[in-house]
């Protein structure tokens, strides 16, 4: 697809018709500026983060439903536990970009971070990232350096913790099904 010129590019992945560019988090602003000005991605659709804590630990069995049934040649798919491939770090921050043009294109920029690491804010590149990055900070606890207004957005200002992390409990109350409980 010709994304070799993106600064800080670590790897490229193609799956399900989508291109993912894995980028070094230290050079994210350069990469995004290049994609906006050089490649025409003038629209930042979404900035989100995924927490991979506990990925692969529950031993997901390899029985997978596809159009043709089970893939018998896939190692471990005879119903035995098959672990999904491990991830480099705990958090992945995904930037979904779109080129609003006569020939539209989509791309996903992915940066990997560990707990406590910060990544530069892309608000100077696309102002719409303002609230998206605040939401990521609020729910996932990933700090964006240089963000002009990094405060909680969806939860109370004095909330403790970051709910969407995997080590944060779902919360709620136990449901009483009878008066005896």
């Amino acid at each position: 697809m010709g994304y070799e010129g993106v600064p800080g590019l670590v790897a490229t992945r193609e799956a399900y018709g989508e291109t993912t560019l894995v980028v070094d988090p230290a050079r994210i602003v350069e990469a995004c500026t290049h994609l906006r000005d050089g490649e025409g991605f003038n629209f930042c659709s979404d900035v989100s983060a995924v927490d991979y804590l506990g990925w692969g630990e529950t031993g997901v069995a390899g029985y997978i439903g596809t159009r043709d049934g089970r893939d018998l040649h896939e190692p471990g798919s005879q119903g035995l536990a098959r672990v999904p491939e491990p991830k480099p770090k705990r958090f992945a921050v995904n930037y979904h970009l779109l080129a609003v043009a006569g020939e539209p294109r989509r791309v996903r920029v992915q940066a990997w971070l560990d707990d406590g690491e910060t990544i530069a804010s892309v608000v100077p590149v696309w102002p719409t990232a303002d609230w998206h990055e605040r939401e990521v900070w609020d729910l996932m606890g990933i700090s964006f350096a240089g963000h002009p207004n990094l405060r909680r957005i969806l939860l109370d200002d004095d909330w403790e913790g970051h709910p969407l992390r995997k080590d944060y409990p779902v919360g709620g109350e136990p449901v009483r099904f009878s008066e005896a409980e």
Partner: protein, 199 residues
């Protein structure tokens, strides 16, 4: 409608708007459990004619507050429209200011962040005031049993009527409102008096 000493609601032909409840003909059913209970309460409470008149007036023009939170608010807007027409019951005047409202229909999920403003709105309403918890989320937290949704709005405000549904049909909400009117006319005090909580 004439108010006479000794006449009960059932004698005056008052019934809920139950479209499928046969009251005449070969399959006629007597009053339902709710009506029987309300009739029993009415006898027990024994309002005077003046109190009955006041209760009648309160029930015939109970103005709701515009407190739409989520999906249930859209069905709540539907009861104002021409097909379901809450104006038949004198309730088309939705007041934006809680100071002028009698009825708070909590329609939608209440996040913890919104619980404070909800209680503030309830406090600003003047007595007598009633609360309808519309929908599953307001009654019990609904399908959201998590860190952010208040599991039932009756944790912070006293509720008179819970209306189930996700979202309840406009007819279901109307049923809840009609039952509230019947409760009021029977003399049942608002929920804050029954529960003895701050109003």
């Amino acid at each position: 409608m004439a108010l006479e000493d000794g006449k009960r609601l059932a004698d005056l032909g008052l019934q809920s708007e139950r479209l499928l409840w046969p009251t005449r003909g070969p399959h006629a059913k007597g009053p339902g459990v709710f009506e029987q209970e309300v009739a029993a309460l009415e006898q027990a409470v024994g309002l005077t004619t003046l109190q009955k008149a006041v209760a009648w007036a309160q029930s015939k023009s109970m103005w709701p507050d515009t407190f739409g939170l989520a999906c249930c608010a859209i069905e709540m807007m539907s009861i104002v429209t021409s097909r379901y027409d809450i104006a038949r019951f004198g309730m088309e005047a939705w007041r934006a200011s809680p100071r002028q409202a009698d009825l708070l229909i909590v329609s939608g999920r209440v996040a913890h962040k919104m619980a404070g403003p909800l209680r503030q709105i309830y406090d600003q309403m003047l007595e007598p005031k009633w609360v309808i918890a519309m929908g599953a989320c307001a009654s019990s937290g609904g399908m959201f049993n998590n860190y952010t949704v208040l599991q039932g709005v009756d944790k912070i405000v006293p509720v008179d009527i819970h209306v189930p549904g996700c979202p309840p049909r406009p007819e279901a909400l109307m049923e809840g409102i009609i039952r509230l009117h019947e409760k009021v006319r029977a003399g049942v005090p608002p929920a804050y008096e029954i529960r003895g909580v701050a109003s």
